[in-house]
């Protein structure tokens, strides 16, 4: 029986782990991998205090090494169900393991949103990618499309420009949402074309991706582009598929978990949620980490008073 189980090893979950161990709590982290969305960062992180510039990869290693210096149990696995029982919580994983705890922390962050274009699911891993940092280097000297003209899309283009031949950035809106700084940086890279009013319709190919079709919303015309890669960067949605019992927590319209932001408690006693999965507006590494600290310290009080 653990004092707490943390679901997710992003900045929120890793910080909760560090604080919980320092409080002497018997802690288990179950996560698909470490780092979460920090692993998706295509350019250096420039807003985590103490590091003027650090790559996602390096910041993750620092968090992970810090965590592993404590007495924490780690399971690299996927949680498929979180249940409440009389004494606390029951967590079931994909590899058929079951863990019990007095309290539980949901730190599962976000999953990339899909566009819903036909062929997107079919070609995942065969040209369609949600992780330019992972797969981008494989597309050297090829033409690719980035779907999404926000900061994530523009930063992906900056990273991809080190490898690929040509980049098309497709933005659904008539205006680009990326920051002026990112827009200026992208302007400086050669062979990048920004296409606004573009609604992705289809991803085509035989075995691997060969082309995409989009609707030019301004001229109401279908157009196609020959590309080998399609990087989808249209945002994230809360990763809560393992909460099969919706009465465990309250959710907002975006399906984010509602918590008391003072202590990260959900409406179920002993159940906490932290980081991007909660309804807070500010989705940042430092905020996720702070949530982790709040939850772990509150759990320590909760368990003493129980």
């Amino acid at each position: 029986m653990y004092d707490l189980i943390i679901i997710g090893g992003g900045p929120a979950g890793m910080t909760a782990g560090i604080y919980a161990c320092r409080q002497g709590l018997k802690t288990l982290i179950i996560t698909k991998g470490f780092g979460g969305q920090m692993a998706q960062k295509s350019v250096e992180i420039e807003n985590y205090p103490g590091f003027e510039k650090i790559s996602g990869f390096d910041l993750i290693s620092r968090f992970e090494n810090h965590l592993r210096r404590h007495e924490v149990d780690i399971e690299i696995d996927s949680v498929i169900e979180l249940k409440k029982n009389n004494n606390g919580f029951l967590v079931l994983t994909k590899s058929n393991k079951e863990f019990k705890s007095k309290t539980a922390v949901i730190a599962s962050g976000g999953d990339p949103k899909s566009t819903g274009a036909s062929g997107e699911k079919e070609f995942v891993g065969r040209g369609v990618s949600y992780c330019p940092v992972c797969d981008g280097p494989l597309f050297s000297n090829k033409d690719v499309a980035v779907v999404g003209g926000g900061d994530a899309g523009f930063e992906s283009a900056l990273f991809l420009s080190n490898y690929v031949r040509k980049i098309y950035i497709l933005e659904y809106d008539s205006k680009i949402k990326a920051s002026p700084a990112n827009q200026a940086l992208v302007k400086n890279i050669k062979n990048t074309e920004i296409i606004t009013n573009a609604s992705l319709k289809e991803i085509k190919g035989k075995v691997l991706v060969e082309s995409i079709v989009y609707n030019d919303l301004k001229h109401n015309k279908e157009k196609s582009l020959d590309v080998s890669g399609v990087f989808i960067e249209i945002g994230y949605e809360p990763a809560t598929s393992f909460i099969l019992d919706p009465s465990l927590a309250d959710f907002n319209k975006k399906k984010e978990i509602k918590v008391n932001l003072d202590n990260m408690r959900t409406k179920t006693p002993g159940l906490y949620a932290i980081g991007d999965v909660v309804s807070g507006k500010c989705k940042q590494i430092v905020v996720a980490a702070a949530d982790g600290a709040r939850a772990a310290l509150d759990i320590s009080h909760y368990l003493k008073n129980e």
Binding site: A39, F57, I76, S95, G125, C134, L138, L208
Partner: protein
């Protein structure tokens, strides 16, 4: 023979390699982005343009699919 196709910037690849090391599995680590021939070989064997890809005695596993990797490598984890 165990071979891991990865890229230097892929965090999930690093997690997979760490897992293999923790279980004392010797493996060949190849950078699929550095060499066109290695890239072609990975795509031919796996049908994938995505990393990590792991080859275990001729069988291909795409991504860090722990269940499948445990089965093929006979890794037994403690409950």
């Amino acid at each position: 023979m165990v071979k891991v196709y990865s890229t230097p910037t892929c965090v999930y690849c690093a997690t997979l390699k760490q897992y293999l090391k923790e279980h004392d599995i010797a493996f060949e680590d190849v950078d699929a982005s550095k060499d066109e021939a290695v890239f072609e070989e990975m795509v031919r064997k796996s049908g994938q343009m995505s990393v990590p890809v792991i080859e275990i005695n001729g069988e291909i596993v795409v991504g860090f699919d722990k269940e499948k990797i445990n089965e093929l490598l006979n890794i037994k984890e403690q409950q």
